[in-house]
């Protein structure tokens, strides 16, 4: 090839030509490499998959036999080092679906094949994902000696590991210092509150006294208290109502106010009614709407005209909507009020439609 670009062309140097040719060679190599890599990935995945399927086919009848028999030799599973992950995932499906003695028996099997040895090694390893997986699995195996490790992991810098440790502790099913655990996780802003709520809820009744105590603790932030209130309400912890009511009276934090109002409605705390009515005139429509809903849950005949008035006049569509829903929920008096309102000619089309829909939902009127 002759010199590509003389004085009249745009790339003046032969060096650039060499670079371009070299670049093209490199690109060719890269294309071949990428295609080869894609194929290698696919072939190795297919092989791994085929191997896993074959192992699972072998284990499946053995598990069934194991579950049915009194005596069984775990070594029949002939686990090779490369099988641990496949085996744990395979057993996981059974653990998920079997309960009671069968579940216990499977856990015995996992202990018999010494799965915990490998998992503990992984749980102490460097890879945070493997740690998280191992911790969760150890929890599922109810491997109690791991509790100390899990507790220490609550403060781990990786939120994934810390969250798995919380899950692991919950699954261990042993008595723990719940207050310490909850304080530890509430301190972490990188853990998602809805996810924490879910796990804390699963600890069950033993955790409730600790949660109630936390409501009175001035060192706990308002957002953390909101989370605690949500958990208590979601689990219908009736004995927490007085503390929540006290918190509502004290706090100035709007999010916490909303959480407390909602919780008091869910817990149907009659003592809260006088306090709640104060919030019907709040400037924030979300506060008003939650108050209306709470009053719907625990209100009496006396509150019916109040809600009807708000249904007519409130500036927020959603407050009106919840007023109508609450009136229906309050029983015959509320429904009667809605029927009467339907006859009024002065209602705005919006309120008319809300009333009509509420009655329609109630009993197809």
């Amino acid at each position: 090839m002759h010199a590509p670009f003389d004085s009249a062309v745009f790339i003046p140097s032969a060096l650039i030509e060499q670079i371009v040719i070299g670049g093209i060679g490199g690109l060719f190599a890269l294309v071949t490499l990428l295609l080869g890599y894609a194929l290698v990935l696919r072939v190795s995945y297919n092989r791994r998959n085929a191997y896993a399927k074959q192992r699972v086919r072998e284990w499946e009848p053995l598990v069934l036999e194991y579950l049915e028999q009194e005596s069984f030799e775990p070594s029949r599973f002939s686990l090779k080092p490369r099988d641990w992950m496949i085996f744990s995932e395979f057993i996981d499906e059974y653990l998920e679906n079997l309960e009671g003695t069968e579940n216990e028996k499977l856990l015995d099997l996992l202990r018999a094949v010494r799965l915990e040895r490998l998992l503990m090694k992984q749980a102490r390893g460097r890879n945070r994902w493997r740690r998280a997986y191992a911790v969760r699995y150890l929890g599922r195996m109810r491997y109690r000696p791991a509790a100390g490790l899990f507790l220490s992991m609550l403060g781990h810098r990786s939120s994934v590991v810390a969250f798995s440790a919380l899950e692991g502790l919950q699954m261990l099913g042993i008595s723990l210092d719940y207050e310490r655990i909850i304080r530890e996780v509430l301190r972490r802003e990188d853990l998602s509150f809805p996810k924490i709520s879910e796990v804390i809820s699963r600890f069950g009744a033993p955790v409730h006294p600790s949660l109630i105590r936390l409501l009175d603790d001035p060192e706990i932030s308002a957002s953390a208290k909101r989370l605690v209130v949500d958990i208590l309400a979601d689990n219908r912890v009736v004995e927490s109502a007085p503390s929540i009511l006290g918190l509502l009276r004290e706090t100035r934090d709007e999010e916490l106010v909303i959480g407390c109002i909602k919780a008091l409605g869910i817990l149907e705390e009659p003592e809260a009614l006088p306090t709640l009515t104060n919030y019907l005139t709040a400037s924030n429509w979300i506060v008003r709407s939650q108050t209306v809903r709470a009053i719907g849950a625990l209100g009496t005949k006396r509150e019916v005209p109040v809600l009807a008035g708000m249904l007519r006049r409130d500036s927020s569509f959603w407050v009106k909507q919840y007023c109508a829903d609450s009136l229906v929920r309050m029983g015959q008096d509320g429904v009667e009020m809605l029927r009467n309102m339907r006859q009024e000619s002065s209602l705005s089309p919006e309120v008319e439609s809300i009333v009509a829909h509420a009655l329609e939902e109630k009993n197809g009127e």
Binding site: P4, V9, F10, V20, L34, A38, V160, E198, W318, E360
Partner: protein, 479 residues
């Protein structure tokens, strides 16, 4: 005089060629960087995914935010009943499906009324976003999660606004009525909202359903199409979603959440005014406006992307429909960039203003015009000896190879992650289309986009008719 003119022309061409070379290097440099970022992002996602199975079970609880799924429908009498049935099968703790009949001229509404025994409802709603008149709202006693809104025709954006007005839940998902969603899709897509209270929008990967077998509203066998055009689009979609969006997501510069599939926080959508009626790129426009509003209000926010294939859609199989679609996409892109032009190179808008929007302006909006001019000047330069044949061949080879490297990187990402295409011959076939797209398809594609620019300049606002052949149905399962 003539010599001066010739000299000027040669200088101009030389300058343009240099510009092209730099343009080519920068655009490919950015794409390669995005690919590298995507490798890390997808690796991280997959590791997280390892833990996600029990997470998915875990989060089917009251702490999950309920969601309203909005499905605008226009003249879809043949497919709407099946599509709604598929949507009703979604696994999610609390959701409602709002089908918006956007003034269909066929029997879409009648089919829905008959299939789901709809009855008129007084369901009240607040018109916080502007939309054409709602003629009626229907509910089904058999399927309490289904709501059908019948309204005057106003286009997709208008229908979505009506859906948002009628919706009850704090999250809304905009989907195409004919999209096929995997059943646990919403559980996966809503996770970023749980992980961070600042998340305002989440997009997911859309995959090409042509060539796949569908049964009971579910993709049961993934395959490639027997036709050429859909396969070219599969390569495009892999590239666009696996490294385009994933890469921009890491930089918090995601500008597009596909109109076929996205989840939004309703208050954020309403807060920025909802979907605009006067654009054909309403999906991109909304996302850019959300960035803009959040930045201007100095609110912390996150618009993110879940790199998991969760939504399957049918792509055009004929040239005419595909050209109309690409024409529309190009117009949508131009409209959005021009509407938000004061965000361009503006540090106030962070990554979006300084990088993402300029990138879309220079390397997406103007790319087809620059590319086509480049072809013409290139041929001209070669014909008049301004560049020699050797260099011309080298440059074109490099361009094709770089295109292939990017497409193959997407293919490798797919193999590293989701491996949706199960057979080795699929990999070879996709590789073949990654090569072939450089010889004709890419150039025609640029031509359609130039047509889009021309249509925009002429003020065309049409959506363009989309002919669909329908999903391939799998034989019923034998028992």
């Amino acid at each position: 005089m003539q010599e001066t003119l010739a000299g000027f022309l040669i200088e101009a061409i030389r300058f343009f060629n240099l510009f092209m070379l730099f343009y080519f290097l920068i655009v490919n440099g950015v794409y390669i960087s995005l690919t590298a970022l995507s490798f890390f992002a997808i690796r991280r996602y997959l590791q997280e995914h390892l833990l996600s199975q029990s997470s998915l079970r875990m989060f089917q609880s009251s702490f999950y935010k309920p969601i309203s799924i909005l499905a605008p429908a226009y003249n879809e009498q043949n497919t709407i009943a099946d599509n709604v049935r598929s949507l009703l099968q979604l696994h999610y703790p609390e959701f409602e499906i709002i089908v918006i009949n956007d003034g269909s001229k066929d029997n879409t509404l009648e089919v829905l009324k008959r299939e789901y025994r709809l009855r008129a409802s007084h369901r009240p709603f607040e018109s916080r976003l502007s939309c054409r008149k709602v003629r009626g709202v229907y509910v089904s006693d058999d399927h309490p999660r289904l709501v059908v809104v019948d309204k005057e025709n106003g286009g997709k954006a208008d229908a979505l606004n009506a859906g948002i007005n009628v919706s009850r839940y704090p999250l809304v998902s905009a989907i195409d009525a004919d999209s096929i969603l995997e059943h646990d899709v919403m559980l996966k897509l809503v996770r970023p909202f749980l992980d961070s209270p600042h998340t305002v929008a989440v997009g997911g990967i859309v995959r090409v359903a042509n060539g796949c077998s569908i049964r009971g509203g579910e993709v049961v066998e993934i395959g490639l199409s027997e036709k050429w055009l859909p396969n070219f689009q599969i390569v495009e979609y892999l590239r666009s979603f696996l490294f385009g969006r994933v890469g921009w997501d890491i930089l918090n510069g995601l500008l597009i959440i596909s109109g076929a599939f996205g989840v939004f926080r309703k208050d954020a959508v309403i807060g920025c005014g909802g979907y605009l009626h006067d654009t054909v790129g309403e999906d991109m426009e909304l996302v850019v406006r959300m960035h803009r509003t959040m930045r201007e209000q100095k609110k912390p926010y996150r618009i993110t992307f879940v790199p998991e294939p969760v939504c399957w859609t049918e792509v055009p199989e004929d040239i005419a429909t595909l050209s109309r679609q690409r024409n529309r996409w190009q117009r949508g892109l131009i409209e959005t960039i021009l509407r938000h032009r004061n965000m361009l190179f503006n540090p106030r808008y962070g990554v979006v203003g300084c990088f993402a929007l300029p990138f879309f302006l220079l390397f997406e909006m103007l790319a087809p015009a620059i590319e086509l001019t480049g072809y013409i000047v290139f041929v001209f330069s070669w014909a008049f000896g301004i560049i020699d044949t050797g260099f011309a061949i080298l440059f074109l080879t490099a361009a094709v190879l770089l295109g292939m490297v990017l497409s193959l990187s997407a293919l490798v990402l797919e193999e590293l992650s989701f491996r949706k295409y199960p057979r080795i011959r699929h990999i070879f076939k996709l590789f073949l289309f990654a090569v072939l797209e450089n010889f004709g398809y890419r150039q025609i594609h640029s031509f359609w986009r130039i047509q889009g620019i021309w249509s925009f300049l002429r003020g065309e606002k049409k959506w363009g008719k989309m002919d669909r052949v329908g999903h391939r149905k799998a034989a019923p399962a034998s028992h």
